[in-house]
Symmetry: C2
Subunit: 268 residues, 2 copies
Amino acid sequence: MTDAYVHGYRERESERLADQAGTLVELLHGDTAYPAGATVLEAGCGVGAQTVTLAARSPEARITSVDISEESVAAARRRVQEAGLANVELRRADMLDPPFEPRSFDHLFVCFVLEHMPEPAAALRRLAELVRPGGTVTVIEGDHGSAYFHPDSTAARDAIDCQVQLQAGAGGDALIGRRVYPLMVEAGLADVRVSPRMVYVDASRPDLVEGFTRRTFTAMVEGVREQALEAGLIEAARFDAGVRALNRTTEADGTFSYTFFKGLGTAA
Amino acid sequence: MTDAYVHGYRERESERLADQAGTLVELLHGDTAYPAGATVLEAGCGVGAQTVTLAARSPEARITSVDISEESVAAARRRVQEAGLANVELRRADMLDPPFEPRSFDHLFVCFVLEHMPEPAAALRRLAELVRPGGTVTVIEGDHGSAYFHPDSTAARDAIDCQVQLQAGAGGDALIGRRVYPLMVEAGLADVRVSPRMVYVDASRPDLVEGFTRRTFTAMVEGVREQALEAGLIEAARFDAGVRALNRTTEADGTFSYTFFKGLGTAA
């Protein structure tokens, strides 16, 4: 995990990630379930937004969820306890120097994590070494270049690009979704299959208008306003016009598209 | 149909459209089938790339396929005959002044047509008036703004943008996919539901690498080279670098994404 983490650990951010997890659970996780007795490492669990879904969907598997932030681990632990889940062990750990034996897990799950890593293929390779040969590795990432909308707006695109630039400046890649396939291959995984999970929003899908366009994506862009202005990436008026344009896409004639990429591979 | 038709009626273009139709048939048309005896108007059939799929998938329906180009209608007729399909009537007609009685069809099918129309909602409204109340209207369109790829390339994006600008200059909209929902609502259709059909290509899908990225999308961009240079939209070297970059995405570590939008509504 890099020190400079663009979308971070603030309370509002935690809420946003929870909203996102709620709306997108079926789309992203509907096809992930681990069998009874399987041991699963969730690397980079953050505040546990995905952890509760993972654990609830595989109630007989044993999930070990780690994050480098003590604060996040504590938040994830609370969330797991509130959900009444008994099959999750939470601990603080550095994913770049993981305190586990090689080949000690049956499966690995890495969601919204590689996007923050300066060397994602090397990081994934190291994590995959913790999985027994034949075990699976699941990677999920978004791609901000997959966002397009109606009405179109260059101000909105500029505001989104602030997030992309900030994340790149911190050593990450907000456009990583399109790279999940080559990254998994480069990390030494076999039988890699990537499937896109597109979120398409129009007025006939009011839950997504609110839950995704407004409260997930636009809220994420709004969340980097201060950093973007401080870094001199954009003028305040331009940024605010971009956010207004994103909110404009939530009106009756608007549409919004975004795509996540989910990859599944086999450890060698 | 506009007079200036950006991707047109040349022989190579016909081949490209046939490739596209072959590769994408299931993705785009897999959920379209009309019952025995139903009458279906296909507006803007071009050289019949979609016509044969439509007719083969609904063998007991009666398809009437029209296009403003006599040459295209002749090509479509040959194609339908070669496919041994007996349930298609082909005729030349102007979709903006259709020679049919109001409410004289059970269903309407409009694929890759509205993108060429200066007033797509008005055109669709007029066509939808040919459908009996309760009949369905199906619209399929692409969106060139949905194309993104790895490795990313600004030259490739500039070359794609030439197609977008040429089509806009001819009164069309190559970014229309994201607007299918509001267009159908504006055309007076009820119960409009739009679903994206994303084509995702990586090296694990060699048929799509060849059939979509190379022979459909990149071939389409290459096809506007002359027009783009004549119009002064781009330098030759830059355009060619863009095409090379698109072809670069077909290598083992490359990926390519593109999305079509399919809308289904009910005539009032």
